[in-house]
């Protein structure tokens, strides 16, 4: 084994890849080889560091220096100045608000975070299982197999209070418990990686940055519920995630961490990687199961729940990527430790994708109960361009819009419920005061009208009708009656739709109507839109 004196980590998450991290890495490798430095320096592709806005990001160890916005042209200087002479290239350091060069880990962006799920994302090479092992990868599984019964594992998950991180927030331990108790053989574990909620890319960045955490979580779940086959269903659009995950599964097999008689315990478990084909509704768990079976991804009636009748009618545990990635740390450190993070009603941490009109966009993990203001102002660095915060849409396009007056609410399930929003999948879209709510509502509704699977009437017709009404309001031909009609349609959809898609599709428009009714009224009454995005005159609102 060769030991390199310095490791250079270059982000290869999707976002940095779009910002030229591949040419950067290639240029760096070439320059290092050219200068004969390849015995000293090891270049490692790693997952997302979170601060995607500043990408591509590079970290040089042992110094721990972070460089931001590195382009291929910068490589010569980095090699000459830093690698060869040990001097920091100041111009590439992260600049804080005061335009001062600071080290990244000391910024509020990192200081306010707490990384449990993202513990290895940005710290390891996701294509090298040994790096994951060095950072305690598969230690949770080893502990479970060595010292715990399946019942103990389920009990620990129940005690931890972990709630599903895919959107619905159902207690994860209870799902595990139901599946363990269910009769029927074989049982399956399915990882839901069909991350389609607009504004959400946390699962993608976990899969790309630390696939072994997810494999380990699936294996732990398999042991707990008595399944020996797992499936992961990854969005078809996520080519890099699919490729990395397949590689990780192969490596885990090679090392005997998947397969038969894992670590001499007698427990066997395999994972099969499946690709989706572009259908938002497949994020709904029963639709996903249908898709896995090779059918149209239409949701099933519930009950029966997947825990009793899931894949091919067999008991199936289906959890989101982030939920499963929490399993190993919970087993390693205990349920009490997990409960010590986050708020009383919502233990633990949550990973968010921060996007929109905010200075630091990217991937963050925060303790539950942190306030929206802390995320926007401290971690997010506030609203750029001298604009004002208008609203945050939490949980993706099916999530609620939270106005400035609620900036101080703690982010957890009950508090969000109070303001008509829900935690959802972990999207956090920040919108400044230059945008029109009617125009945004239009975007939301076009999305749902396209993605409704058409199986049940309230959702199929409701999404189309809502779209038509809001299109009309935006074009200046709406009436006050339309607003009443909107309310009635939304009520029907929430009560009568078959699955979560139809039940939550009205949420963004309902919250927009609740907090920004003046904008709707301005479009209807005086034909004015604050942003000019709509087909009516630009202008302020009547107050």
């Amino acid at each position: 084994m060769s030991i390199h004196r310095s490791h250079i980590l270059v982000c290869s998450g999707s976002n940095c890849t779009l910002r030229a991290s591949v040419p950067v890495r290639m240029a760096l490798r070439a320059a290092i080889a050219d200068q004969g430095l390849d015995k000293e320096f090891k270049v490692i592709e790693t997952g997302c560091f979170g601060l995607c806005q500043e990408g591509p990001i590079m970290v040089i160890y042992p110094e721990g220096i972070h460089y931001c916005g590195v382009q291929p042209d910068d490589i010569d200087e980095i090699v000459e100045t830093h690698l060869k002479k040990g001097r920091v290239v100041n111009r590439l350091l992260y600049r804080g608000e005061a335009e001062q060069e600071v080290t990244l880990p000391s910024t509020p962006f990192y200081q306010r975070q707490h990384r449990v799920v993202l513990r290895n994302v940005g710290a390891v090479d996701p294509e090298n299982i040994e790096e994951s092992l060095a950072r305690d990868g598969y230690q949770g599984l080893a502990k479970a197999l060595d010292t715990m019964s399946p019942r103990d594992v389920v009990q620990t998950m129940l005690d931890s209070g972990l709630q599903g991180r895919g959107g619905a927030g159902f207690p994860a331990g209870r799902k595990w418990d139901f599946t363990l108790r269910a009769s029927g053989e074989p049982k399956y574990v399915v990882c839901n990686a069909d991350e389609g909620e607009p504004g959400t890319s946390k699962d993608r960045l976990i899969l790309e940055g630390d696939p072994h955490a997810v494999i380990e979580g699936m294996a732990i779940a398999g042991y707990a519920v008595g399944a020996s086959q797992g499936f992961i269903y990854i969005r078809g659009e996520y080519q890099l995630s699919l490729q990395r995950f397949r590689k990780a599964v192969e490596q885990a097999r090679e090392y005997g961490l998947l397969g038969s008689d894992i670590l001499g315990s007698g427990f066997s478990f395999n994972v099969e990687v499946r690709s989706g084909a572009g259908a938002y509704v497949c994020g709904e768990e029963t639709a996903l199961l249908n898709s896995l079976e090779g059918r149209r991804g239409e949701p099933r009636y519930k009950p029966p729940f997947p825990a009793n009748e899931g894949l091919w009618g067999k008991p199936t545990l289906i959890n989101n990527v982030e939920t499963l990635a929490n399993a190993a740390p919970i087993l390693m450190h205990g349920a009490q430790w997990y409960r010590s993070l986050g708020s009383e009603d919502c233990p633990g941490t949550k990973v968010f994708t921060l996007s929109g009109d905010v200075a630091n966009r990217g991937l963050i993990e925060v303790p539950m109960g942190i306030t929206l203001r802390e995320i926007v102002e401290d971690i997010g660095g506030g609203i750029p361009g001298g604009r004002q915060f208008k609203m945050a849409q939490i949980g993706g396009t099916s999530g609620g819009c939270i106005p400035a007056e609620h900036l101080d609410i703690p982010i957890d399930i009950p508090h969000l419920d109070d303001v008509g929003a829900s935690l959802g999948s972990g999207a956090l879209l920040i919108v400044d005061d230059s945008h029109c709510m009617v125009d945004l509502s239009k975007t939301f509704l076009h999305f749902f009208a396209h993605e409704s699977c058409g199986q049940c009437t309230p959702c199929r017709e409701g999404t189309m009708l809502m779209r038509k009404l809001v299109d009309g309001i935006a074009a200046g031909s709406g009436t006050r009656k339309d607003l009443e009609l909107l309310e009635r349609i939304t009520a029907t959809m929430r009560k009568a739709s078959l699955c979560g898609l139809g039940q939550t599709a009205p949420t963004p428009v309902l919250t927009a109507l609740r907090y920004f009714s003046d904008e709707y009224e301005a479009h209807i009454d005086s034909g004015r839109c604050i942003s000019g995005a709509c087909g009516v005159a630009v202008g302020g609102m009547k107050s």
Partner: protein, 161 residues
């Protein structure tokens, strides 16, 4: 279509389908995988392909067709060599996705869901590609591009000519 020509095509189609089925497996749950493989060459699924798949897997044609038309990554209509998907979800929308779409439309001279005359490009819109921190974004076949401006989007398209 001329019969002679069609027959030969059907033969090729059948061979392709047999190969894909062999690679993925004959079980019904491999249907999505099989369709995905078969679409790789032409960017769309011909009727003959669906017929052959139905026969190979012993499924009703209606079921194969129903599945193929359910998913937006599959198409049963001819598409160009490159499928351009412009993201129109909310995060890209507030980053100016509408301007990107307008520029791409103008450059290609087609509307959404249309294909250029030279069969090079098909323009589609897509929901979130999961790269919201670097929006607005678009995807050309399997390649994702972010931080777009109208000019950059056109430059990228030109690089595909």
């Amino acid at each position: 279509m001329i019969m002679l020509c069609s027959c030969r095509e059907v033969k090729i189609v059948r061979e392709d389908v047999k190969e894909a089925v062999q690679r993925c497996g004959r079980e019904k749950h491999q249907l999505l995988e099989i369709l995905g493989q078969l679409q790789k060459g032409t960017n769309f699924l011909e009727r003959d392909t669906l017929v052959a798949v139905a026969e190979e897997l012993d499924l009703p044609l209606a079921e194969v067709y129903g599945t193929a038309t359910f998913y937006s990554l599959y198409s049963t209509k001819p598409r160009g060599r490159y499928v351009v998907r412009v993201c129109e979800s909310a995060p890209c929308h507030i980053d100016g996705a509408a301007d990107i779409l307008a520029a791409v439309k103008a450059h290609l001279g087609v509307a959404v869901d249309e294909t250029t005359d030279n069969s090079q490009f098909t323009l589609e819109t897509t929901s979130c590609l999961g790269v919201c921190s670097v929006g607005p974004a678009m995807m050309i076949n399997d390649e994702v591009y972010g931080n777009l401006t109208p000019d950059r989007a056109v430059e990228i398209l030109q690089s595909y000519n």
